[in-house]
């Protein structure tokens, strides 16, 4: 829901400056994506999109069907114009998906030559592996449609309600209303996205009146901003904060192979204090990776843990971890000191969390050393080295397929073959069985049930995932900004309905 006075009529016209996060556009090759992902500026649209309830909404495709267990056929919308004035046809879809295929296929698994134009308004997509959840996955704006033959770096050309005007790296992306848009024309004349990588800087820019809307506001700023008359837009939780336990038994990092320690950690952490204190209330204590909203009623299968440090102590005592030097337990001369790796997708998003965990675990006699990586590539590089006990991550549910993320990270087989995560985190056993079924289940309700069960084994039984919080997206704007709808996945934000107060 949205708190703050963004109700009321919006007028047509006006310019909005948006304080956006770090500029992470790729500027070369097939991966070039200015105006597309990660900041979805609504220059491009996908075949479908996702609503806040993780439902699928048709956009450039009007209908779709799985034809033979492998191939998806999409019927395309008629009368859609590309920003360069040409009509939108299947050629653009093929062009876009082939680009992704050239890059390795992306998460839906587009194959080289796997996209075929049937006619101008019909296209067949055959991924490299049978993908029952293809439609749920292509909601991710990575899979948006680019005008056939265009180069997003030179001139991003799509079908969206806004068209590209200018881009200065690390500075600003400007888009303007596309008058030929197939749907209802956007309200704003122009949007300027200013890249302000520092959350606090964005918030100050809002306060200083330099921007009208900021994405990603520090949690603790909410009260203050509201008191100053700004509108704060809080999304339902769509992201999660969690730690993964390295049970791979890799040299120097074997402590978490002891299930008692993992469970003790689960009990030792006061998630409510975390949510109230560190997240300033802008999070939930829900203990799951896949948002409870996406799992629906099945979400109850994941029970989670209560905060019970005494129990944690007991479990450790029972497992032979005896109090030692400086309050850190040890067993057989080994100190119970864990290494926590912080940095995905950036250390900044976790501000305060590692130290909080460090303090909480210290109280039950578990020492924590924090290693902060500079950014996500550095974090990924570290996963290759397998060095670290606890891996702190912020994950986002950016598509409507609940099985994707658990399978990607924890399935032994993996989605794209076993990788570094598998070496550290895959529990096998029951989880493996259930998640495999989830991947091949044709029916959506069944998928949700299976995923919920997989989550249950992962969290409650194996304690490999140590969920910390469900995280909301917080945005804020001047009170005159109307029609901004916060999304659990920030990538699905629509700007065409955003306007200024009349």
């Amino acid at each position: 829901g949205s708190s703050g006075g963004s109700s009321g009529a919006a007028k047509k016209g006006g310019v909005l400056t948006v304080g956006a996060e770090e500029d992470a556009y790729v500027l070369s090759g097939d991966g070039a994506n200015v105006g597309q992902y990660p900041l979805n500026a609504n220059v491009f649209e996908g075949l479908v999109r996702m609503d806040p309830e993780y439902g699928i909404v048709p956009v450039l495709a009007t209908s779709w069907a799985l034809r033979d267990g492998k191939t998806w056929r999409f019927k395309l919308r008629r009368g859609v114009k590309l920003h360069d004035g040409r009509p939108f046809t299947a050629a653009s879809v093929k062009y876009s998906f082939d680009r992704i295929a050239a890059q390795g296929g992306g998460t839906p698994g587009f194959a080289k030559g796997g996209t075929k134009v049937v006619d101008d308004h019909t296209v067949d997509v055959t991924p490299s592996f049978p993908n029952l959840r293809l439609v749920e996955q292509i909601v991710h704006p990575e899979n948006s449609i680019i005008a056939a033959g265009s180069d997003p770096v030179k001139k991003p050309t799509g079908t969206g309600p806004f068209r590209f005007v200018s881009y200065r790296r690390q500075e600003q992306l400007t888009v303007r209303r596309f008058p030929g848009y197939w749907g209802a024309a956007a309200l704003l004349d122009e949007i300027r996205f200013k890249f302000l990588p520092d959350a606090n800087a964005r918030r100050l820019a809002l306060e200083a009146g330099n921007v009208g809307l900021v994405l990603g506001v520090p949690d603790e700023a909410v009260k203050n901003l509201e008191s100053k008359g700004f509108a704060v837009h809080v999304s339902p939780p769509g992201a999660y904060e969690a730690m993964y336990a390295n049970i791979g038994g890799h040299k120097g990092y074997t402590l978490l192979q002891d299930a008692a320690v993992r469970h003790a950690i689960e009990y030792a952490i006061d998630r409510r204090a975390l949510v109230q204190g560190v997240f300033n209330g802008q999070a939930t204590a829900e203990q799951t990776m896949v948002p409870a909203r996406l799992l629906g009623a099945d979400a109850q299968k994941v029970t989670g843990y209560t905060h019970d440090p005494a129990k944690a102590q007991q479990m450790l005592d029972a497992a032979g971890w005896k109090a030692g030097d400086g309050g850190i337990r040890s067993k057989g001369g080994r100190r119970l000191e864990l290494q926590l790796v912080d940095g995905f997708p950036s250390a900044a998003v976790h501000t305060g969390v590692p130290e909080f965990v460090q303090d909480q675990l210290k109280r039950v006699g578990i020492g924590v050393r924090i290693v902060t990586t500079a950014d996500s590539p550095a974090y990924t590089a570290r996963t290759k080295s397998l060095q670290g006990d606890l891996w702190l991550e912020r994950g986002n549910q950016n598509d409507a397929n609940p099985a994707f993320l658990p399978a990607l990270l924890f399935s032994k087989a993996g989605l794209f073959g076993p990788g570094d995560y598998q070496k550290m985190f895959a529990p096998g056993g029951r989880f493996e069985t259930v998640i495999k079924q989830a991947l091949s289940a044709p029916d959506e309700a069944r998928v949700k049930g299976l995923v919920a069960e997989a989550m249950h084994t992962l969290i409650d039984t194996d304690a490999i995932v140590i969920p910390l919080a469900g995280v909301r997206q917080v945005s804020a704007s001047e009170s005159k900004v109307r029609g901004f709808q916060p999304q659990p996945s920030g990538l699905q934000v629509r700007y065409d309905r955003v306007g200024l107060a009349a």
Binding site: S28, G29, G104, L196, A205, N210
Partner: protein
């Protein structure tokens, strides 16, 4: 003239030294640059054959001295490699961002002079006055305050509380003022102290007595005879300050989200974008050399004695 030629020639060995430094910094980078390059290009880690191919393609299989010479040859042609993160030529990235840094550093230098020079000169003329004491205290304080802290204090005061100036990003003069202040304030103190001590020194010189003995007006004695000589000392320092600010603008650039090369470097360092780090080392070093060159040449114009000795020796 000879001096100029010699001084210009002197740039060459120092520049070569900088290329070597840049090369060495690159050598110490952990991890295999070929693997990093491949990973950035293809979004996955390379297989053994791919790795070997990439190494060959990048010339990484050649011996170090050869790679160094090659890098110098490339650098001379303006080729500083390609950024891992953006995939664009490093020189282009640097050249694109440099004007912003130049802008903020020049503005900061200008502010430093504007504030520091008159204060320093006045303090010297009114030695031990209240103004002098204040200048001394102020310049010591300015030298003691972390510039990034000042930056935040300025933001709180001028953007958040007073809503007078924008806090971030580029734009008109109003965007420039806060970063320039944050960067220039400490240096203003330095300029004031320098101006004061040079001026005091000059005022004690015999030729000032001579000028007075000639019956020149005090305005001319101070304004021409004293100031010109005092400036000789200050100018070299101002040049160095400018070079220093060019380099040190990094933190302020990060805070004010200013698209300069300093921020580029900080980002490259945190993203381990070695070609950019190396390119930056080379670029910044080169710029600095030329700033120094300019300083020496200006110095020589101001102080005719310099052509006999060397300016650098005189400043050292």
């Amino acid at each position: 003239m000879w001096y100029v030629a010699r001084r210009v020639l002197y740039v060459v060995p120092t520049w070569l030294g900088i290329t070597l430094l840049a090369f060495v910094v690159g050598q110490f980078a952990p991890g295999d640059p070929a693997a990093a390059y491949f990973a950035r290009q293809h979004g996955r880690s390379p297989g053994a054959a791919e790795l070997a191919r990439t190494r060959h393609q990048l010339g990484l299989d050649r011996p170090a001295p050869e790679r160094y010479l090659r890098s110098v040859a490339h650098a001379v042609q303006g080729d500083l490699g390609t950024s891992y993160t953006s995939g664009r030529p490093v020189l282009r990235e640097l050249a694109e961002r440099f004007p912003s840094t130049l802008e903020v550093a020049s503005a900061a230098t200008f502010l430093a002079i504007l504030l520091g020079l008159p204060l320093g000169v006045l303090a010297a003329l009114r030695r031990n006055s209240v103004l002098d004491q204040l200048t001394r205290g102020g310049s010591l304080l300015a030298a003691s305050v972390p510039s990034f802290w000042i930056a935040y204090l300025l933001i709180i005061l001028f953007s958040v509380k007073l809503h007078l100036l924008p806090s971030f990003g580029t734009g008109g003069l109003d965007h420039l003022l806060l970063p320039a202040l944050a960067l220039g304030l400490g240096e203003a103190g330095l300029v004031a102290r320098l101006a004061r001590s040079s001026m005091l020194e000059v005022l004690g010189e015999d030729y000032i007595t001579t000028a007075r003995a000639k019956g020149l007006s005090e305005r001319r004695v101070i304004g021409l005879h004293a100031l010109k000589n005092a400036l000789v000392g200050v100018v070299t320092q101002v040049g160095l300050i400018f070079g220093f600010l060019l380099a040190y603008s990094a933190i302020v650039e990060v805070i004010f989200i200013w698209p300069g090369i300093g921020r580029l470097a900080v980002e490259a360092i945190s993203q381990r974008d070695y070609p950019v780090i190396q390119g930056f080392v080379l670029f910044a070093g080169t710029v600095f050399i030329f700033v120094n060159l300019a300083v020496d040449l200006i110095y020589q114009r101001l102080d005719p004695r310099i052509s006999l000795t060397s300016a650098s020796a005189a400043i050292a």
